[in-house]
């Protein structure tokens, strides 16, 4: 097995998962299960692609994806925070809406004929073993993960966010604006999810295809639970999933695995996630206000 290739493939696979999982952790620590994640990633992938195609600039495309993700977060906030809609329904609805909308605009704008290609992000340190990676990957590991960890742990903003997710009554009594805090978590979380989606079009593929996110949002939801809502374990869990996912591609081309059904290998990382979740299930403690809309009586 080629370790250098495996490492590089793992970094590519883990990047969108990291953005999505960290975004979801922010939402859930604030007490909102954001099942709009899959749709938000999808919209991020499409908007990043479409704006890059229109402007020719990857930077502008990425920025547009961030805005789209923030808007998706606002929509979740409107539904779950302001209107108090059931979070499962709101999230699934948001996902369906955003996927449908992305596909619709895609057909109108890019339908028929050949696939539109957009410029792809450049690799940092091309050709250098173990250092070859996209800037977004480096940012995820070096900036986003440690920064979120620090914000959640050591700042007033993190304290407020956690309080709102654990005990909104107490947060309210302490003078914290519960709605505003949840909106903020959803907007920032949504933006991160969308960056994860945009990575798929702008770094991996250089184009947009049907079903581009392929359930990565749902994997992120599982990773959040696996990591027990903590950043460090989320990074490790993401790496675990990614290394198995990258590994199965390599296994498939090895002669020893020639008779193993291809489908089984593709399913492998997902089976590992399910097994890990089953094992992690003991003594799980959800954020105290998980799934609960907050209303003053």
């Amino acid at each position: 097995m080629n370790l250098i290739a495996l490492f590089a493939a793992t970094l590519v696979t883990v990047t969108p998962l990291l953005y999505a999982t960290i975004g979801e952790i922010l939402c859930e620590r604030a007490g909102v299960l954001n099942l709009g994640i899959e749709g938000t990633m999808y919209a991020g992938a499409f908007v990043g692609f479409a704006i890059t195609a229109a402007t020719g600039s990857i930077g502008v495309g990425l920025l547009a994806a961030v805005v789209a993700g923030a808007l998706a977060g606002l929509l979740m906030g409107l539904l779950t925070v302001s209107l108090g809609v059931n979070q499962h329904v709101a999230g699934i609805g948001t996902t369906l809406l955003l996927i449908g909308l992305s596909e619709f605009v895609n057909r109108l704008r890019f339908g028929g004929g050949t696939l539109t290609q957009v410029p792809k992000m450049d690799l940092l340190f091309p050709g250098v073993p173990f250092l070859e990676m996209y800037a977004l990957t480096l940012v995820a590991f070096a900036v986003v993960a440690p920064l979120t960890w620090w914000v959640l742990r050591s700042t007033g903003a993190g304290l407020r966010l956690r309080a709102v997710g654990e005990n909104p009554e107490a947060a309210d009594a302490a003078g914290i604006n519960v709605s505003r805090t949840r909106y903020a978590a959803l907007v920032v979380g949504g933006a991160l999810m969308a960056v994860g989606g945009a990575f798929l079009t702008l770094a991996v593929l250089g184009t947009f295809t049907l079903n581009i996110t392929n359930g990565r949002g749902w994997v992120a939801i599982a990773l959040v639970i696996f990591a027990r809502w903590r950043i460090g374990p989320a990074v490790l869990g993401g790496l675990l999933f990614a290394v198995i996912d990258a590994g199965q591609l390599q296994l498939a081309i090895m002669p020893a695995f020639a008779h193993v059904p291809r489908e089984l290998l593709i399913a492998l990382p997902y089976l590992v996630v399910i097994a890990a979740l089953a094992l992690a299930g003991e003594g799980l403690r959800y954020p105290g206000a998980y799934l609960k809309p907050y209303r003053r009586i």
Binding site: T155, A157, A163, N167, G175, G288
Partner: protein, 511 residues
């Protein structure tokens, strides 16, 4: 005390829909004073507090702080005006540390000034006269300690007026003593306290002035020393109260030999999922014509014990019997069939809110009310009408039960259980949340069953209730029975020590 009040309310009015909860309430708190608000459940006490603390907006009326009118639209405004509140449900985030909880109200978005917060919190605890480690998690503190954190937190925020909503409801008597000492220290340094309670003896002991709230109105405000508890009780309920007293009740307990044992809990232990022992060798006998009470602060194994007796949970070891029948691990249906009536703690979990009163009344015995595969609606209606009359339930058979008051819902549960003449009754927190009248009714019904020879296991956190009803009292702490005492000769102090975890043997002759 002719000084300017710290806080004054004028003509506060608040209604929810058609229900007028506060009707022109005038109230003030002066420096150095403990002002008690006395009222039954539903008298409007809690709403009034929520108004002062900005958790709800009044329809009319104004609030003055230090003589100047203020607008309090949120807890933030209240805190800024020097008002702090501690409710029965602590506004604490359990997985966070004490310090993090304290920081919540003062921290901005950036890294907070933890050293400054530590210093100011230490000053607050010193003023309170208690010692609290700021780095311990809330969930690792006892209820009494959590309450002290809450009070210290309000002082940290600069409160000059402290609102305490039923502060002793969750405390063992010793913790209540400590609380009173702390409150005296605070008032001595010029703070004002608004002390909300429905317990007369507490109000008599701790407060300087008392206002009685009834049906949303202040019916009187007077110096506490000038009235007897009986007068206050009368003001509170609007009529004279004949509390159930030990001496005026009834026949003595039944025989207590082995033959007379009806409910037997034999060396029952239960291990929790995390390996913690939830019940530890609990061994109890309840005899015919006897009420055995289980006293203790909630969460010490009462619920688990009740679950095991009701057939909802299987003990890890030990047996439970009703009469001669072993019901260890029996299903709820089998438990009911062998003569155990259950009136559980969670009323809403015991009735089906969306079903009617008549449907709920026959829910446990649907087998008797059917014709072939169908329900016998006419028989159900007859049964319901009979029970509604017999138990004075204020509802029609077709009313949705979820819409009934707590008292009426409890009567439906009583009717469902008692109509079957159970020889054994398991009843938990039977009067929690009920007003005085409904509570009295429940007590009378239980005493009547006892006189008829039923064995009653009463689980309660209310010592007044226990001392009024029980023949013997078993105190539970951390899943173990600390001791069993005679209700006629025990004292609150003795029960309180056991409730705090001192075994009866260790008390010696001291209590």
């Amino acid at each position: 005390m002719g000084t300017t009040p710290l806080v004054a309310l004028h003509g506060i009015r608040k209604s929810y829909g058609d229900l007028l909860v506060n009707d022109g309430v005038d109230l003030d708190v002066r420096p150095g004073e403990i002002h008690a608000i006395l009222g039954e459940n539903g008298a409007g006490k809690t709403t009034l507090m929520r108004v002062i603390y900005g958790l709800t907006t009044p329809d009319a009326g104004r609030i003055e702080v230090g003589g100047a009118p203020v607008s309090i639209a949120s807890p933030r405004d209240a805190i800024a005006a020097g008002i702090g509140m501690v409710t029965q449900h602590f506004a604490l985030v359990r997985p966070m540390t004490v310090l993090e909880n304290v920081l919540l109200s003062s921290a901005g978005l950036g890294p907070p000034d933890t050293e400054g917060a530590r210093r100011r919190f230490a000053e607050a605890t010193e003023l309170l006269g208690v010692d609290i480690d700021p780095d311990v998690r809330i969930e690792d503190l006892s209820v009494g300690e959590q309450q002290r954190v809450e009070i210290a937190k309000t002082l940290y925020q600069g409160a000059r007026v402290l609102i305490l909503d039923e502060p002793t409801a969750v405390l063992v008597p010793q913790d209540a003593r400590a609380l009173f000492d702390a409150l005296r220290r605070l008032t001595a340094s010029g703070l004002g306290v608004l002390f909300i309670s429905h317990k007369l003896h507490e109000v008599a002991e701790i407060s300087h002035r008392v206002s009685v709230l009834r049906q949303g109105r202040i019916v009187d405000t007077r110096p506490t020393g000038s009235s007897t508890p009986a007068e206050l009780a009368e003001l509170m309920v609007g009529r004279s109260v004949a509390a159930v007293l030990r001496d005026e009740r009834r026949v003595g307990p039944g025989p207590s030999n082995d033959e007379a044992v009806v409910i037997a809990v034999e060396h029952v232990s239960l291990d929790g999922s995390t390996g913690k022992r939830l019940l530890d060798d609990v061994d109890l006998r309840v005899h015919r014509g006897e009420i055995l009470a289980i006293a203790g602060v909630s969460g010490n194994g009462q619920r688990e014990l009740a679950d095991i007796l009701s057939g909802m949970r299987m003990p890890s070891s030990g047996h439970v019997r009703v009469g001669r029948q072993d019901i260890t691990g029996a299903t709820p249906t089998q438990v009911v069939a062998c003569g155990l009536g259950r009136i559980p703690e969670d009323r809403h979990g015991s009735v089906v809110d969306d079903l009617s009163v008549e449907e709920n009344l026959v829910l446990e015995d649907l087998g008797q009310f059917r014709r072939g595969p169908f329900l016998d609606k006419r028989a159900i209606r007859r049964r319901a009408e009979e029970l509604i009359a017999r138990f004075a339930i204020k509802a029609a058979p077709t009313d949705r039960i979820g819409g009934l008051s707590g008292g009426n819902m409890q009567k439906v549960l009583l009717a469902r259980v008692l109509a079957k003449d159970p020889r054994a009754i398991l009843v938990a927190q039977p009067t929690r949340g009920l007003d005085v009248g409904a509570g009295e009714y429940v007590h009378q019904q239980l005493l009547a069953r006892r006189a008829d020879g039923a064995a009653i296991l009463l689980i309660s956190e209310d010592l007044d209730e226990i001392l009024a009803l029980a023949d013997r009292v078993a105190v539970i702490f951390d899943g173990a029975i600390m001791g069993i005492v005679d209700a006629a000769t025990t004292t609150r102090a003795e029960l309180g020590l056991m409730m705090a975890g001192t075994p009866q043997q260790a008390l010696g002759g001291a209590a």
